[in-house]
Symmetry: C2
Subunit: 437 residues, 2 copies
């Protein structure tokens, strides 16, 4: 058994091999990985049923057990997702900037992998598979700390990946699964070996990671998304979008938590509340909402801090606001800069909202649920970042590479370009190029 530090050292070293792998080879590894997954349905189901049985006897909550449990269909979806990643464009090696500084002195800004990524995920086997394939495609070594509940399933998935790597002569240390809570604390200390941490799980996990490491963290603690229904909204559209944004996947981070309604649309509140109730949604609200919809239908929100709650279930909050300004002020105060939407037929109002709301994703006349790497056409995502700096929002392959500056000369010294008789730089843009492999 290697220590977490040794694993990270080996991952860093494997990362160098990954960084120079041709696209073809990476894609072949992914194809093989996919074939092993959907060629081993029976074996996967067998080990997974052990994990599920353990989870049931440990009385874990049913939502978690659902996410842990594999089905024939889920296994095929997992394999298809890997194949889809393998078919995405190569993210490494692009020349992003190419400049002739002077004769014989050429600068290239080149897309390169981060190096080693540590991911901390809960029990979803499909999340592990997706991470493994995205990191392989982007040439990053991966250390994934998986939930204890999924031990047997994830071990088998790791074996499939290792077999695929070995068959192509790539070190297994490119992808390692670690277990146990202690591993998290150890990983977070390794800022000289690990280049990025991706925590996927509860708000508490993400905040713990953010507060306890000097490694850059990609993720979001909260998904407190808003839909603002403007005075100029098509209210039927608003109802439809809110129902979708709340009920289509209530535990998703891009589900709506708070609906802000312009006071001119007061009469529509009972319609909305009824529609929500029919979908089994619990409704909380401000005093005005309670007054209109009735105390039987809406629970009064008494504490300001309750507006910053991510329900993550079939529950929503409604607040009446006086205007666009008040809606945006609410979002600024209680939002989490994830995804916020406006429903309005007024183009100027929409423009102001899209422009001024400082969230990774802003939406006009559509559901917040679209903010997702797959839906955005990024192929797949490792998560959604609510930080201000890139990568921001849904992070796909493009967000899993950074760049370096490569300068080649033939004896150039800088003194020539300085002082009274300074030689001028040419700064001629040269053609950009995509990785030819």
């Amino acid at each position: 058994m290697h220590s977490v530090k040794e694993i990270a050292q080996q991952a860093k070293s494997a990362g160098k091999t990954l960084a120079t792998l041709e696209s073809q080879k990476k894609n072949a590894i992914l194809q093989l990985f996919a074939d092993k997954i959907d060629g081993s349905v029976a074996e996967l189901m067998k080990v997974n049923s052990r994990d599920v049985a353990d989870a049931v006897s440990a009385a874990l909550n049913s939502a978690l057990i659902d996410r842990l449990r594999l089905t024939d269909a889920k296994i095929h979806q997992m394999a298809d997702a890997v194949r889809q990643v393998s078919s995405l464009p190569e993210p490494v090696g692009h020349v992003l900037r190419h400049t002739l500084l002077d004769d014989g002195l050429i600068l290239r800004q080149i897309a390169v992998p981060y190096g080693t990524v540590a991911a901390i995920v809960e029990s979803r086997p499909d999340a592990v598979v997706q991470l493994m394939s995205l990191m392989m495609k982007s040439s990053n070594a991966l250390i994934v700390k998986a939930g204890q509940e999924a031990t047997h399933t994830v071990k088998l998935i790791q074996r499939f990946m290792h077999e695929s790597l070995l068959q192509h002569g790539v070190p297994c240390s490119s992808v390692t699964v670690v277990h146990g809570r202690e591993a998290v604390a150890e990983l977070l200390k390794l800022d000289s070996l690990i280049d990025l941490v991706i925590p996927r799980g509860s708000k508490e996990l993400v905040q713990y990671v953010q507060r306890n490491t000097r490694i850059p963290v990609l993720g979001h603690a909260d998904g407190i998304c808003h839909v603002y229904v403007d005075t100029d909204a098509d209210l039927q559209m608003a109802t439809r979008i809110i129902i979708d944004a709340k009920t289509q996947a209530p535990s998703a981070c891009n589900a709506v938590e708070t609906v802000l309604v312009h006071r001119n649309a007061l009469e529509w509140i009972p319609v909305l509340v009824t529609a929500l109730k029919q979908c089994g949604v619990r409704v909380n609200g401000c005093s005005q909402t309670v007054a209109i919809a009735g105390v039987d239908c809406v629970t009064l929100i008494t504490e300001d801090s309750d507006w910053a709650v991510e329900y993550g279930e079939l529950a929503v909050a409604i607040k009446i606001v006086s205007d666009l300004e008040a809606a945006m002020a609410h979002i600024r105060t209680f939002g989490s800069r994830h995804t916020d939407a406006i429903i309005t037929a007024n183009a100027a109002t929409a423009e102001r909202f899209l422009h001024e709301v400082d969230s990774a994703n802003v939406v006009h006349n559509a559901s917040t649920r679209f903010s997702d790497g797959y839906r955005y056409g990024l192929g797949a995502e490792v998560g959604i970042s609510t930080g201000k700096l890139p990568p921001r929002g849904p992070v796909g392959l493009d967000g899993l590479v950074t760049y370096k500056w490569v300068l080649c000369g033939n004896g150039h010294v800088s003194a020539q370009y300085q002082g009274v008789d300074a030689k001028p730089f040419k700064h001629v843009p040269l053609p950009l190029s995509s990785p030819a492999r």
Copy 2:
């Protein structure tokens, strides 16, 4: 007098105005700012001489006083630098990705300013002018904490900027200079108001900032740059490049600190040491270097930690290494991921070095001194980042914007695209566009 927090609140609010300013207006403000600077040489010299006199009587070190002191030429250079920034391409508003997700459902990834940037700089008035112009051009509000020594000069520069802003109806709170050490600690706490911190100064300052804030930090603590002289190096070229990299600006972060020499080039060591000595460079070295060049010429390095020293003056360290591997291992252990160079005529060796050395800038057969935003053709830079994530290396205007995802539909809900009868996404790329202003 406003508190730092109030200043930051006003900056955040001003940032919204800045974000929508047309290029033309921003450029006009910068032109006016430049005109005021070189139209006020006498006034600038007068206030600056007060600062210089204070610095002299406070017995501040002469290098600092040099950087603080304005001359007629320096003032014109400052103004020209502002004009140059105004002539750079607009960094805000570009559509970086534009996709038709489905009929009527259109996604844009748009370049937007960070919002509010806090910069902590020492006494150089030209650094303050450059920051002000880059932030105006990139539509970021700026709070700059300037060195106490430059108080009068920087106050006048601020007045020029405020007059330029006012003449175009833009709030003065877009750019504010604050003073005093307490201001730094206060700024670092304001992670809900400030989006990026740029510390420019000593290693201690940068490390203090990195350790004491949750705001993203752009910068570098160390500039420990290496030149590796390979067995296949043109040794005359190597001497020329090393002399340039060390002596052209010894205190610059991209100056070389350690020269690594392949053991096959042992005989050249005395040549190099002599050349360095002739330029007034103090030489430290490993025991082999001392043995070859003599204890009179080279001081023995006894502590491993001395290889991680940034001299920042006319001093350099020399180490004999057994091969490329050993050179790269040394850089990995003692380097600061800033700028590292290889001198070799062997293309394969160069390729390995450029590929495997994990620094923001890697250089082949040229001086480390080229790693600089202006020389790279980025127009100007706010600093060099040694972090792994973008912006990495010299950060110009492109590194002062982030992006947001803007999705516009006409009532689209996500449920349609999920499940058994899922509607497929179209994901048709649409034309990209530059800001039309």
